[in-house]
Structures are given as structure tokens and as C-alpha cells.
Point group: C2
Chain length 395, copies 2
């Protein structure tokens, strides 16, 4: 029994316990915390979506498995949405409905990456992308973004990072945690590298509808020649306040979907059917909520930036052009690690933010703040941080 630790695989053993979960655990020990750490939308799923789910339950439509790739009716509605909003031509056979974007991304990584292969990730990046690569026993290769230019991708650095073992580029835009939105030109630059080296492109487009200041979300799969090597992952969860329903989808060529399907089955067999009916309603119903959420987040982003300006000696920041996250840089206490600052803010100021160390090698020295909350909580958190940093003599 003394060798029990040997039972754990290196693939998971090498994944550090997430600093995010450490903070979540610590936050649960405190009361009256002002949370800027939840990258999930405040509020509830719109009523018309709930009603459709209830109707599907009452009609006994959700007891049994759906087809593995999802309800045909839902995939047909997704086809329409992809054409309308992403300019992507797809057929139902090119879609698998997944447990949020996250499962689609994991299935995509499994479908293109073997042990020891390398996957290029921008840094800072969404921490679960790193875990997805590690779970595949593959090697995450981080390519620093250019922070002072809004965390934009450094195409030259991407190109230099390619080796014979590189199999894929994986990124999200709009980006969690930085709020950057890769421009069409930048995305085409990444695609060019992928074409040159025959790499797969795996996109996380979870925040597609949340862009600001004229930034536009662009889907590489809208370019027919690129669709062949692009696996695009979307979700309903951010757009319609449906994080608890766990429903998204992956789009790729029919040939690639056949492979992704093999990874999808052991992860879930099919996405929960009640959630699929909720998703169907989301697509078929009024889309006003999407516009409302975007406007709400724009307002809250502006508030957060304004409040950050007041903390100017403590943080510098890049104004997010998308998502509902931002990634201020700590510019006091040089070398101060993000986790200890976050713990101090939690225990001494009752403010919960996420340590940047969770987001790749260039994440350290930053904290993530999410503005998918409300003005009151944002103001409360910043009032408290103002007092805390004033007391330290920084303001």
C-alpha cells in the first residue's frame, strides 16, 4: 500500500492544483466577500429557455439518449446560427453538440494530439486549455502575447515556436483572461502558420457575442480553405446565462467530426437532452437577451476601467475589447506574486479576484477581474481595494 501514489498517472499528477480552486476554497471560508472572480454571468437563464426545457420534460422528450452528435433539430438550428452570425457554412453532420465548449475542446484536442505532441497556446491563456493538452499527455508550448498592445498575438513568436512535433494551435478569442480580441488579420496570420506547417487550429469562441469598441469577432472556419483544418468550439452557456446547463457545440469537417465523435462518446455519450432542448429554445427564441447582455457588460467594463483608473499607482491595465474579463498588471511591490496578493485581498479586504499565475507563464504579476456581475458588487470591491491600498500608502 505504500506505493499507492504510483496509482496516479503522470498526466494528471503533473497538473498542478489550480490556483483558481485554491481561491474558491479559501473564499468559501469567508463571509461578505465582493466577488470579481467568477467568470460566469450573474443572473438567471431567460424565462423562455426555462419554459422550453420544462415543456420538453413534461412531454417526456428528455428521458432517453439523443443521437450521439445531438438532436438533429438542434444541429439544424446551429447550422442557421453559424451562417447568420459566423458566416460559417456547415451541415448537421459537421456538428457535435457538447457539454459546453469545454468538452468540445477536450474532444478536439484528443482527436488531433498524441502523447508528446506539442500544442501552441498564447500566454496568458485560459488555464483549462493547458489542462486539456496535459490530459492528452501532450506538451503545452506557450507563446507570449504582446501585452502593451492589448495582449495581441505575436505572430513571429508563434512561427518560431513551431517544431516538428507541433500539431495544433489552441486559443480563445475574445480571450479569457485578457479581454483581447484577435483581429481578422492576426487570425489569418495564425492560420498562415497552420497552413505552412499542417497544424490543426482549435478555437474557443465562447465569448463571440461580447465585443466592444468596434472590435469584431471573426471565425476562421468562415474561410472555406481553412475550415478543413479548423475545429471551432462554441457554447450557449455565456451567451444565454446557461453555465449550469452545460451545452455547446463543435464544428469541423465531417471527416474530423467522425474522429471527434470517438472522443465525445466516452466523455458523455450525448449531451444531456434537457439541456439540448433548452439550447434549441435559445436559438429559436428572441435574441434580445444577447444584445442586452453585451450592453450590460460594456457598461460594467467601463465602470471597472474607471474604478481601476483610481487605483492607477497599483495596477496598469489593457482595456478589454471583448469577453467579460480583464487582466490588470500589478505595478507595486515588484516581484509580488499574484497568489499572495489575492489571498491578502481576500482576507484583508474581502475582495475575491483570481491570481494571474493560473493563466500561463506570463500570467504571473497580474490578477483577473471579471465584470459579468453588477455595478454594486464592482463598486463595493473597488471601494474596499481603495481603502486597502490607501492604508498601504499606495494611493
Amino acid at each position: 500500500m505504500e506505493k499507492l501514489g504510483d496509482l496516479v498517472s503522470r498526466r494528471v499528477g503533473d497538473i498542478p492544483v489550480s490556483a483558481i480552486h485554491e481561491m474558491t476554497r479559501l473564499s468559501a471560508t469567508m463571509s461578505d466577500v465582493a466577488f470579481l472572480s467568477w467568470a460566469r454571468p450573474e443572473g438567471n437563464t431567460p424565462e423562455f429557455i426555462n419554459e422550453a426545457a420544462i415543456k420538453a420534460i413534461k412531454d417526456n422528450k428528455v428521458s432517453a439518449y439523443s443521437p450521439v452528435p445531438g438532436l438533429l433539430e438542434l444541429r439544424e438550428a446551429i447550422v442557421e446560427k453559424l451562417k447568420r452570425d459566423n458566416n460559417i457554412d456547415a451541415t448537421p453532420a459537421e456538428i457535435i453538440v457538447t457539454n459546453g465548449a469545454i468538452e468540445g475542446l477536450t474532444a478536439a484536442v484528443m482527436a488531433v494530439v498524441d502523447p508528446g505532441d506539442e500544442v501552441l497556446l498564447p500566454s496568458p491563456n485560459y488555464s483549462t486549455h493547458t489542462i486539456q493538452v496535459q490530459l492528452a499527455s501532450a506538451v503545452p508550448v506557450f507563446v507570449p502575447t504582446i501585452e502593451e498592445e492589448g495582449f495581441r498575438p505575436d505572430l513571429d513568436a508563434f512561427r518560431r515556436a513551431v517544431t516538428p512535433k507541433t500539431k495544433a494551435i489552441l486559443f480563445c478569442s475574445p480571450c479569457n483572461p485578457t479581454g483581447s480580441v484577435f483581429s481578422k488579420e492576426e487570425l489569418l496570420g495564425l492560420a498562415e502558420i497552420a497552413e505552412e506547417h499542417n497544424l490543426a487550429i482549435i478555437t474557443d469562441e465562447a465569448y463571440e457575442y461580447f465585443t466592444f469598441d468596434g472590435a469584431e469577432h471573426f471565425s476562421l472556419a468562415s474561410i472555406p480553405e481553412l475550415k478543413k483544418r479548423t475545429i471551432s468550439c462554441f457554447t450557449f452557456t455565456k451567451t444565454y446565462v446557461m453555465t449550469g446547463w452545460r451545452v455547446g457545440y463543435v464544428v469541423a469537417t465531417e471527416e474530423m467530426i467522425e474522429q471527434i465523435r470517438k472522443a465525445h462518446i466516452p466523455m458523455t455519450i450525448c449531451t444531456p437532452v434537457v439541456s439540448q432542448y433548452a439550447a434549441l429554445a435559445a436559438l429559436k427564441g428572441p435574441q434580445d437577451c444577447v444584445t442586452e447582455f453585451r450592453e450590460k457588460y460594456l457598461h460594467l467594463r467601463n465602470l471597472m476601467c474607471q474604478r481601476l483608473d483610481e487605483l492607477n499607482p497599483v495596477f496598469s491595465y489593457q482595456r478589454p475589447k471583448g469577453s467579460y474579463n480583464m487582466f490588470p498588471k500589478i505595478i507595486v511591490e515588484e516581484g509580488r506574486d499574484s497568489l499572495s496578493l489575492c489571498k491578502d485581498l481576500l482576507f484583508k479586504a474581502k475582495v475575491s479576484v483570481v491570481p494571474g499565475v493560473a493563466f500561463g507563464p506570463t500570467g504571473e504579476g497580474h490578477i483577473r477581474m471579471s465584470f459579468c456581475t453588477n455595478a454594486e458588487d464592482i463598486n463595493k470591491a473597488f471601494d474596499r481595494m481603495g481603502e486597502y491600498f490607501s492604508a498601504k500608502g499606495y494611493l
Copy 2:
């Protein structure tokens, strides 16, 4: 672009397209088929479970993520169930709620197996277990069961199959597809081998409540010393006619659960919350439905065996002691492959059964029939098979 096939990983490329899905696809081209091929319970989720899910939606409890391991209230109810029905002592921290047993099994395999490691599987076995091992870039090592003794595990063969690369034993009992129920002694024999060679034991206990003729389901995790190396996967989907809800759970030591959690996050973040509330209701509500389903399946098993007796020159079979599947052996047309027989039965007799080739190397030469349907469909299917085999001169 000519190298696009290179984009596919070996791990999924090496997984054959399932014969089960081939049959499903072909069945969809036909009308008026008598299905014995669906290993999902007929009928609908009990009303009290639906009602609880609807209430949770109306109460706005399902919009947002639950904690990663699942709702605490649900894990507490699972703790009680494990004690009551499985004699397993567990705490909520030793449980993760998963997307059916299937996701728990995949997460468990990822948590203990590295590329190139070997996993022992009885043969015939549930085909997705093989895929789970392949998805981990590990090697499935099949250990034939003793068919003429009810597909019981061959402990000597298991012992001989162990190599320095063996990391785990993975099986389901009651078994899909064979209907065998491993006895306590057989399970302890497997555990002894695991102890000798420091292997993990991963159990799929999806059919725990469906045992017949005095066979008893036994959980290895009920033995405290074995709990340390045992990862037990359960599901609500078979017990409560909830396949579409995708909810189950995995039980292991807290140390191991911390590792499994790292694989669980990228597969789903959390199990859909609406399904978790449905599962909570299932555990808290009247359990009459479980007894009713078992009695129904016993009745249908008896019917299926009786009808199989009439086809005696064509099939021999082992009377299933559990699950709702059986695995008759084709004893006419020596060397006839199971897929072509299944296609003939589909196209010429309008009966859908599953080719044994899908269930491991000793599965060929068999077909799987599931009796989680109704007497009318079973009779219709056997009437048709009777005519078909009579016309061929076998009866």
C-alpha cells in the same frame, strides 16, 4: 492540404468506427424494425423525478455551474445510498458527480493510466471501456472469460496477463453485454491480483440493481483495505430510466478524487445542474420504481430465454444473471461473422440486434440482445427471427 489525414491523432484514428453505430445508422434507413439492440430502458423517467427537475428550473437553481464535484446535497444523498445499498463508507469529498458512469470511467482511466500502460479488460466487454483505454493512448489487454460457466472471469488468465506495464483492471459487473454477475469470490480474486501488482481497480456498476436468480451485486469498495485502490463508477441512468439526463458518480479516496477532478473539469466543468437535481429527487424519492424495473426485466429475461430456446439450433446462450443484456452464441454457419448476420437480420427480418464483434476479441460469433424493452417487441422480434431461420432450414 493533401496531408490533412495527418491531423488526426493515432489515439482516435486507431479506434474503429463502432459496429454498433454502423447498425444504428443502417437501422435508421428502415421502417418497422423490432429493436433488441438498445441497451437503454424503455419508457420514461418517473414523474416525481421530472417534477423535481421542473421545480429546480422554476426556482432558478439550475442557471449557474454547481461546484465542480457536484451539489453538496446530492453528494450527501449519494453517501447515504452507498452505505445503504453498497455497504461503502464514503464522504462527500470522496465523490464526484459525473455525466453518467461513462464520464466517471473515462476520468478514472485518465487519472491512473499513462500512454503505453496496459489495462486488463475481460472479454467480451463493454466496447466503450476499450475506447476509454485507447483514448488514454494506453493498451487494452483482453482476458477471455469462461463462457460455458456464464462468462465468469478466469482469474488465472488475469494473473498471467499482468506485465510490468499493467496499471489497472477495468470491468463491469453486472456485465454489458454478457449479463454475467461476478461473484464476491471472483471479485476478491481480481482484487488479490490488484493487490499483488499494485493495480488500480476501476468498476462500472451501472447495472447494480438488476440481478436475478439470487445473484448479488458486490462492491469491492465496501472492503476498507480495497477502497484505497478502487475507483467505483455508478449511474442513475439505468436505475431510474434517466439515460437522457446524463448523471452518475464516481467514488474513490479523497486523494484519488483530487486527481480524477483534474480530468473531470475539462470534460464538463460540472455535471448539468438540472440533471443533478433530478438525481437528488431520484435518491430521495420512493424506490419502488427500482424494484418494479428489476421485476420487469426478470420477466422479460425469462421471456427472451424462452424464445431463444425455440431458436435452439441457431443460438446457444448463457442465462443472464444480471444487467438487461444477453449474449447468445451463433452455432449455425460456422465462422459466420456477427456483423453480416446482424445486417441480414435487419434487412431480411427487420430485427435489430448488435454484432458481438463490438465487444472484444471473444465477442465475434455472438450477438447482443437487450431485454430492457417490452414483451410485444421481444415477441415480434423472435417471431420474425423464427420465420427467417425457418426459411433457411435451421428450425
